[in-house]
Symmetry: C2
């Protein structure tokens, strides 16, 4: 996922009614220095982000991503994002992703300590090739996230529902999964309920019903999961949000990790036990996810 393009965004110059938001953007070389060492994103992981899938130049589910950016900003006491400005930035960045699949990343940082605040930018990159994960499936291990399922209700300062830049634990969980000869992880609450993956949502299948962990603040609202649930409902399947004990995941007829760029990756092994992968059905999900979606 080498960066092809970067756009610095001036959030202070933005005005919801400005006729030409493009004047608040500055294209920069993604390989050249663009941020100062005083950036709080870099010093404190203090900011929020979104990763938007792009297919053939079309950014997917932009409004859902922008809504989540606004939600994250609110949870983190960051200035309210100017949605019209971010939408314009996504359009420009998406056009720089090239052919095939790409990813546009939006970052809103708390800014520079004692400096202008916030800082914001968008990047465009070619996506990695995830075709193997989509067709062959992935091996997943469950890892304790340390929090009880009711922690977020008690302690909003844990920012569990915000997509912050503080992803060191998510990255460490992926390294732990690799150490265990797996491709990815599923976080469990300390009391044994299924949460989410470090960079994806979980959907499991029980008969003709598709189930995802209830968003109670402990997990991110998954934009790809939301989109897939609409699609599955339109195909006549039941969809449900539930509090899912890990044993229920182990007994599922099938399960997927779904995210904006890798899309639907069927879980073929969970903690060493095989899970059934329905290749044809999974392909139909990814066909949908690769079609232009707004």
């Amino acid at each position: 996922m080498a960066l092809r393009f970067a756009l610095m965004i001036d959030p202070l110059a933005a005005d919801q009614t400005a006729p030409d938001l493009a004047t608040t953007f500055t294209a920069v070389d993604p390989a050249a220095p663009a941020l100062t060492v005083g950036e709080l994103s870099t010093q404190r992981g203090d900011g929020i982000f979104e990763s938007i899938g792009v297919v053939g130049g079309h950014p997917q589910e932009v409004e859902a991503h922008l809504e989540r950016l606004v939600h994250s900003a609110r949870l983190c006491d960051l200035p309210e994002p100017n949605v019209a400005q971010w939408r314009a930035a996504v359009a420009i960045a998406a056009s720089e992703c090239g052919e095939g699949e790409g990813v546009v990343k939006l970052i809103l940082s708390r800014g520079v300590e004692h400096g202008p605040t916030p800082t914001a930018w968008a990047t465009a990159a070619t996506a990695a090739d995830f075709s193997l994960a989509r067709t062959e499936g992935i091996r997943v291990v469950t890892l304790d996230r340390g929090y009880a399922i009711d922690a977020p209700a008690r302690a909003p300062w844990l920012l569990l529902g915000a997509k912050t830049l503080s992803y060191a634990v998510n990255m460490a969980a992926l390294r732990e999964a690799h150490r265990r000869d797996a491709d990815d992880a599923v976080f469990l609450s300390s009391d044994g309920f299924v949460l989410e993956a470090p960079t994806a949502s979980l959907i499991l299948q029980r008969g003709d019903t598709f189930i995802t962990p209830a968003p109670n603040g402990a997990i991110l609202h998954g934009t790809t999961q939301l989109s897939l649930f609409e699609h599955l409902a339109a195909r006549g399947f039941e969809t449900a949000y539930e509090t899912i004990p890990v044993d229920e995941l182990r007994r599922a007829d099938a399960a997927w990790l779904v995210s904006s760029v890798r899309l639907a990756a069927p879980i073929r092994q969970l903690d060493g036990a095989d899970l059934t992968v329905d290749a044809e059905f999974t392909a139909s999900l990814n066909d949908y996810l690769l079609s232009p979606r707004d």
Copy 2:
């Protein structure tokens, strides 16, 4: 704490035996762009740091900080820091802190995605004026950290003993404290034990004994706490590491938050209840902390 100076460090060029480590440093303008948008420190809070107090040009407790940097790197699967190189960087940065009190910050980032890795830099800044916090004391609220006291033993991927750049929760806890009309917070485990403050360690006093939470992996090893314990022992006091239920903190004869730059800040109010501040004794602690320490 405006930055006065920044030094980019080339960790790949470093060699423990290099005769001139200074050739691996490049001074940069701290107000000018120095980092690319692809930096994983900024995208993922994926890296580690240290903040070293500087008094009259002398960096305090450098070896303890470098040891913790190495410890954090190990927990985060980062390349082993070249301690000789970091020590040389600290000396240069400390000399740029000016008169009075300053702070040298060391950052080791996982680097640029698909680029050179890791990246590293040091900054020098004048410290904020903390004399009021040191003399008048601070109001503190307790906040749930969400984890049980035994979480780190079960789940090392939570990185609880590492000083990572993923500090969004620490910053959110400080904002929550301010919302509650307090100056700072003390984190509690979900099962009610005292951990640490978002950017400081806790020491409490019971008679002639000074107690700090036992380092079981759930908290950082506090360099200032370690130094103060040595000092207190030399003065004939008892020191102890204990698992501290929050009620014990409430019953303490006195308590302090201690850290590298603010130094010893006596807690004058805990969750709205007054605590005794011994101004003279606290001044003696800060006199010690302001003296040159190695």
